[in-house]
């Protein structure tokens, strides 16, 4: 080819390239424009070099999966390229000469322009993101903008890469949601959780752990295991040792620090060792600060990249206490049965082995009879416990009935073994029919009367009175049981409705501590309330029932 024809070819090639915009991109790598090259082009070798360069450049550009633009600071497109033409808002040739503000929706345009401005000021802009609603869906793009070296052009120009990050955005959103969900679950967990990372430092604690221990979140995060152990030890009684996660024996035997927990251990024992994976180590710890609590302490070894272990604290104070009281109750009940059984068995054996004179035999029969009734009483209380445990609500049998005869009957017939007293009854007012469970109310009355008798001396009076109260809102029936016994302190009063609570713990006064808790359940089931007032001159129990018609 002659020099002239090469020149011509170059020129036409140049103008062709310019048409497609590719020419403008050649200055990417500071390559000389074809025009410039053409000037130098004296030989075929230069022409071939030019071909090679433009091929390589085209290959480079084709390999870029992003959208590639040449945009000026005023937003005008000078070139556009995409290996995925469908991502372009408009075909490339239609973009050239138009502006970003024309072509893009306002929100996207603002971001693109601000990216250009940033690149203008700093040379580079990375990370700005914009969203586009295209026919194929909502897509997200991330911009990477570099300022071109300004040679001839007076308007600053920029290479803009726009990457489709829709999938990444979607995953980011899912991850964030997951994190939020987990965080919520973690925060709302009813148990205290402490997470140690791979450096054995605390990476997460939840709110409840902070509440239980009184240690603040900031104080705990980043603590080493050793520091954590010291902090926990500080909460414990000086006699007990907080062994922490690594200090615990890896045996699967559950250890309990004291008798209080031991009764509860039995329940937990059964659920251990089920899985064959590395056993979680569990034990109970007792903390005395800020409040007394018994916590089931479980260490879960994960040995994962980010989490080495999790320590889980379940507050079982209530359960352990109730369990202990239940055990004590059962032991007391069993023990209380021994006395009447001793007497019954003893006397029966005596009666079998010899003949007693009349007066002695009668005394013996009386005693056997009394003791048998006593056993029935204890058995009734044991049944009460069983009933309370198995959803008392189910056992109620509510009907429209007259309450007065029930009260009357109980009042007239009530007596305690070994006590000659009868209940002093005030005359009963006329009572309307009420929606009640007569048997349960009878039980409640008996329990109240029983307490009144038990806690007062045999020469003092126990009385029962019924009042019909008509208020504006509702008619009520109040049953008032009064005794002149030993009474209770306000401290004792605060506990009386607790299951198993006994005012007298010396063992002299029989009882299981369930009487009043049952009364409360029964009366409250009827929509009523129980009030107890007490002092050194005795106790007054008022059972108030609303009159509920049909």
């Amino acid at each position: 080819m002659s020099h002239r024809s090469i020149n011509d070819s170059l020129q036409s090639l140049t103008s062709a390239v310019r048409h497609t915009g590719l020419g403008a991109l050649l200055s990417l790598s500071g390559l000389e424009t074809p025009a410039k090259l053409a000037e130098k082009a004296d030989s075929e070798k230069t022409a071939r070099e030019f071909d090679a360069m433009s091929d390589n450049l085209k290959a480079t550009i084709d390999a870029i999966p992003d959208l590639l633009y040449d945009i000026a600071l005023d937003g005008r497109y000078y070139a556009a390229h995409s290996s995925n033409t469908w991502l372009l808002a408009l075909p490339a040739q239609n973009l050239v000469g138009r502006t970003v503000q024309d072509v893009m929706p306002t929100d996207a345009a603002i971001i693109i322009m601000s990216a250009l401005m940033q690149a203008y000021e700093n040379g580079l802009s990375q990370g700005k993101q914009y969203e586009l609603s295209l026919p194929q869906g909502d897509l997200w793009f991330e911009l990477s903008v570099a300022r071109k070296s300004t040679l001839d052009d007076d308007v600053p120009r920029f290479i803009v890469l726009s990457r489709d990050i829709t999938v990444r955005k979607r995953f980011e959103r899912m991850l964030k949601q997951n994190e939020e969900d987990l965080h919520t679950i973690f925060a709302l967990s009813p148990d205290g959780i402490v997470v140690f990372d791979s450096n054995n430092e605390i990476s997460h604690v939840n709110g409840l752990f902070c509440d239980i221990t009184g240690y603040r979140h900031q104080r705990l995060i980043g603590c080493s295991e050793l520091e954590f152990n010291v902090m926990m030890q500080d909460l414990c009684n000086e006699n007990s040792q907080y062994l922490g996660a690594t200090g615990l024996p890896t045996s699967t035997k559950v250890s309990a620090p004291n008798a209080l927990c031991q009764s509860y251990v039995g329940h937990i024992k059964g659920s251990e060792n089920v899985s064959s994976k590395k056993a979680d180590t569990r034990n109970y710890i007792e903390i005395i600060k800020p409040n007394y609590r018994i916590l089931l302490h479980t260490v879960i070894e994960l040995n994962q990249e980010r989490i080495s272990r999790v320590i889980h604290f379940r507050d079982i104070t209530n359960e352990a206490m109730v369990d202990r009281m239940k055990s004590e109750f059962l032991m007391t009940a069993a023990h209380e049965l021994r006395t009447p059984m001793t007497i019954i068995l003893g006397y029966v054996e005596l009666l079998k082995s010899r003949v007693f004179e009349q007066s002695a035999s009668l005394e013996i029969y009386d005693s056997i009879h009394d003791q048998s009734k006593s056993i029935v009483g204890i058995l009734d209380e044991l049944l009460d416990l069983a009933r309370i445990e198995s959803l008392a609500g189910k056992a109620f049998n509510m009907k429209m009935a007259a309450l007065a005869p029930t009260i009357d009957k109980i009042g007239k017939r009530f007596m305690m073994a070994g006590d000659t007293r009868k209940v002093k009854m005030q005359p009963l007012p006329a009572l309307p029919m009420m929606f009640i469970d007569k048997e349960k109310l009878a039980q409640a009355l008996k329990n109240c009367l029983s307490n009144a008798f038990k806690y007062s001396s045999k020469d003092s009076e126990v009385s029962m009175e019924v009042r019909l109260i008509n208020t504006k809102q509702q008619a009520e029936v109040a049953i008032i049981i009064k005794d002149h016994g030993i009474g209770m302190t306000s401290e004792q009063l605060s506990h009386i409705f607790e299951k198993f609570y006994r005012v007298d713990t010396s063992g002299k006064i029989p009882g299981t501590g369930l009487g009043l808790s049952l009364v409360k359940e029964i009366i409250e089931y009827h929509g009523g309330r129980v009030q107890v007032e007490s002092g050194t001159d005795g106790t007054v129990v008022t059972l108030t029932l609303p009159v509920i018609g049909n």
């Binding site: 023990h335 021994r338 006395t339 059984m341 001793t342 007497i343 019954i344 068995l345 003893g346 006397y347 054996e349 005596l350 082995s353 010899r354 002695a360 005394e363 013996i364 005693s367 009394d370 003791q371 010396s506 063992g507 002299k508």
Partner: protein, 138 residues
């Protein structure tokens, strides 16, 4: 004092439950023993000094009296220990009568020097035989 009175042995029952005291009394009266009663450990100790029984039947769990003259003696175990350490009474047979029936409880009773430990409920006939045997020995 008649020969009969000399022969009648005295038994002191220290037990807080009146019905059980009555049962034991009825049981042992028939076996011609003279029965004395106390309802707590402190009173029991006083009565030991006063009537000097030939055998003591002792409950373990008894409520404390408020005006405690012997503050170290809370229950039957304390009282037994006290009696066995006293040269005047150490030879006197002491038998525990208790609802606590576990082997550890029995061992505790024997550890404080009791001659025997009977678990409630007990057979009155067995009790008579036991008492007879212990009285026969002393």
């Amino acid at each position: 004092m008649s020969a009969n009175e000399l022969l009648i042995k005295k038994i002191l029952i220290i037990e807080d439950q009146p019905d059980i005291r009555m049962l034991i009394k009825m049981t042992l009266n028939f076996a011609h023993y003279e029965i004395h009663e106390a309802s707590d450990a402190q009173m029991g100790l006083k009565m030991v000094h006063v009537i000097k029984p030939d055998l003591v039947l002792l409950d373990i769990m008894m409520p404390r009296r408020i005006e405690a003259d012997s503050p170290d003696i809370h229950d039957g175990l304390d009282l037994c220990k006290h009696l066995k350490n006293d040269p005047e009474y150490c030879a006197m047979p002491v038998v525990f009568l208790s609802a606590k029936g576990k082997s550890e409880d029995k061992q505790s009773g024997l550890d404080v020097g009791a001659n025997d430990y009977v678990v409630k409920p007990f057979s009155p006939i067995f009790l008579i035989e036991l008492v007879d045997m212990l009285m026969g020995k002393s």
